[in-house]
């Protein structure tokens, strides 16, 4: 029996099985090895799936051999394969980093549970991306969310508990909205298979429940992806979670939510319903612009590096949804490529921030004064990541910005071009705030003399920094995949 046809199932099952195994092992070290191996396995599988779907074919896998639409279907197309590569790849890079990072932030007797939760979170995120069943999305969403709440609560600051609680409330409301939307779709079409709903929706006579479903889903998903002004949960969660968790979540969780949004908009409801019947593009455009400007401005006033980066994430999500609101090939390419690029950048930035925290003992900017002189290499990495947030050529941020500006130009909307480039100037402000604090102030006396960092903290972070530069110089993989995925998505409804 060959494993190749079962890759879609293995993609989810592999990390899923390691979670209970990690709990049974009751040893941090063994759990670490197991989950890391599973993450790398998942990464390899995702690359395999990406390769299989690159030509445009769609892999459909019937779980338990129950044919869709009756059974649950796993469905991989270009977009889902691309997101799978991002999620599994980030897990594979962040996990080696976890070992030393949580050593400093989480009591040792909880380590094996940490890895179990991490594996569950990964399972959930991969599951959301790969499933072709609407209710299944909700289930995987809750698996990843519940694991995420626990991971955030493991932060050593007591405020992590409150952050986790707040995220639990907001996240559950979001998930419930999503399940209401799915329920309404189910009631009108009688099926839960996404593709099947998509084909049946045009024949539905009453439009109102469908529009209500669209509204519920949009709000619910936007809560999860932290679209301004539904982002309130995000800054606290990112600030107080353990550094490794923040790096993983910032790179993947909101991105997967974007994927869900794209999936529902283009594969289920169809472009004409979403973009013509409701004023959604206009609303999304305004909210995206608000995110880009307000969140960037707020980021410039933060006193904590992780919180600054968290607000920057809210702003960058604005870019992602802005591309979506254009409803064009270039705009959608920008959305998908920025989803990947921003994942890389923020993953790198939060990991490097974690390195600083490991030495300085906290991420408050007051603690990090003069850190550029004390730890020049790590601080320089943060500047590199910051340049990508700004969109300087030679970094991935530039590639994303290029397509966003191009999409705005194709629509002939110059004011939007100016808004896009203008908001990146706000990124200059918050990145340079860090630069000035890190280099123009004297290092505090309390900094430990031994500032060497273990390789396992530095190597994964620098791997991602290198990736932000590499994919900024040679964007054939990212842009190629994103453009092809956008084409496939648009082709579904046109």
């Amino acid at each position: 029996m060959s494993l190749a046809p079962h890759l879609p199932a293995l993609q989810v099952v592999l990390p899923l099985l390691t979670a209970p195994a990690a709990v049974l092992l009751r040893s941090g070290g063994a759990a670490f090895l197991l989950v890391t191996a599973a993450a790398w396995g998942a990464f390899a599988i995702s690359l395999g799936l990406w390769q299989q779907t690159a030509g445009g074919e769609v892999i459909s896998y019937a779980i338990g051999n129950w044919p869709p639409p009756w059974g649950i279907e796993l469905r991989v197309d270009r977009l889902s394969a691309f997101v799978l590569v991002l999620v599994a790849g980030m897990a594979a890079v962040v996990l080696p980093y976890c070992r030393q990072s949580i050593e400093r932030e989480i009591p040792r007797d909880q380590h094996y549970l940490f890895y179990a939760m991490f594996a569950l979170c990964l399972t959930g995120l991969l599951g959301i991306t790969i499933t072709g069943d609407a209710f299944n999305i909700f289930v995987f969403l809750e698996i990843s969310s519940l694991a995420t709440y626990v991971l955030i609560a493991l932060g050593r600051d007591r405020r992590a508990l409150v952050a986790a609680y707040q995220y639990l409330i907001v996240g559950t409301i979001g998930a419930t909205f999503i399940v209401i939307g799915i329920g309404l779709l189910y009631l009108t079409t009688g099926t839960l298979n996404l593709a099947d709903i998509g084909t049946r929706l045009p024949q539905v006579s009453g439009e109102r429940p469908v529009l209500a479903a669209l509204a519920f889903l949009t709000v619910g998903i936007c809560l999860k992806l932290a679209l301004f002004p539904l982002h309130q949960w995000l800054p606290n969660a990112y600030t107080f979670a353990p550094s490794a968790v923040t790096a993983f979540l910032a790179a993947t969780a909101t991105k997967v939510s974007v994927y869900v949004l794209l999936r529902f908009y283009f594969s289920v409801f169809g472009e004409s319903l979403v973009f013509d019947r409701l004023p959604l593009p206009g609303i999304m455009l305004l909210l995206s612009l608000a995110a880009m400007f307000v969140a960037s401005a707020v980021a410039a006033f933060q006193d904590d590096l992780k919180r600054l980066l968290a607000y920057s994430s809210v702003a960058q999500i604005g870019y992602i949804t802005l591309g979506l609101s254009f409803d064009s090939q270039s705009g959608l390419t920008a959305t998908i490529v920025h989803l990947f690029n921003h994942g890389l950048t923020k993953g790198a930035l939060f990991m490097l921030a974690g390195c600083l925290v490991a030495v300085a003992g906290g991420s408050g900017l007051a603690r990090l004064a003069g850190i550029g002189r004390a730890m020049p290499v790590t601080a320089f990495g943060i500047v590199l990541g910051g340049l990508s947030l700004i969109g300087v050529p030679g970094t991935v941020g530039f590639v994303s910005k290029w397509y966003l500006v191009l999409a705005a130009l194709e629509k002939g909307q110059w004011w939007l071009v100016m808004a896009i480039v203008g908001s990146s100037l706000l990124a200059v402000v918050y990145v340079w705030r860090f630069v000035e604090i890190a280099w123009f102030r004297e290092p505090p006396a309390g900094l430990p003399a031994d500032r060497r960092l273990p390789l396992s903290l530095q190597a994964p972070a620098w791997l991602l920094v290198a990736a932000t530069v590499y994919f900024g110089l040679d964007a054939s993989f990212t842009v190629g995949s994103a453009a092809a995925a956008a084409e496939q998505l648009l082709g579904m409804t046109r």
């Binding site: 809750e142 519940l146 626990v150 007591r158 409301i173 419930t176 189910y186 906290g362």
Partner: protein, 124 residues
């Protein structure tokens, strides 16, 4: 089509709004969770009620049963209930830990304590 024939929807909507209102309006962390549970419960009803046909039974393949209620919503909601219970359990566990470290489960008191934390950290 009358109000009465759709009464299950009205109940659903009432529970939904009531639950959401409690989550937003209450400052007590436990009460918030109660509201959240009510909110989730409304969804159970949203799924289950339309699946029931009057006079229908469980899908048993036998001569005397002709009218079936759809079993799928029940299965789905069974899953949703499990998720809801897990969420509630985790939420309560978090509240216990919050109570241990902050000595309070009132949102305003906790936020005040957080603010103080933030200021000591910034060194002001």
């Amino acid at each position: 089509m009358s109000l009465a024939s759709h009464f299950s929807y009205w109940v659903t909507i009432f529970l939904m709004v009531a639950g959401l209102f409690i989550v937003i309006a209450r400052g007590n962390l436990i009460k918030k969770l109660v509201g959240l549970a009510i909110f989730q419960t409304s969804v159970y009803l949203l799924y289950i009620a339309p699946g029931k046909l009057i006079g229908g039974t469980a899908p048993i393949l036998a001569e005397e049963f002709k009218v079936y209620s759809s079993p799928l919503p029940h299965v789905l909601i069974l899953t949703a209930i499990v998720v809801g219970v897990a969420t509630l359990a985790l939420g309560l566990a978090l509240v216990v830990r919050i109570r241990e470290t902050y000595g309070s489960i009132e949102e305003d008191e906790i936020l005040a304590a957080d603010l103080a934390d933030g200021e000591t950290e910034a060194g002001r």
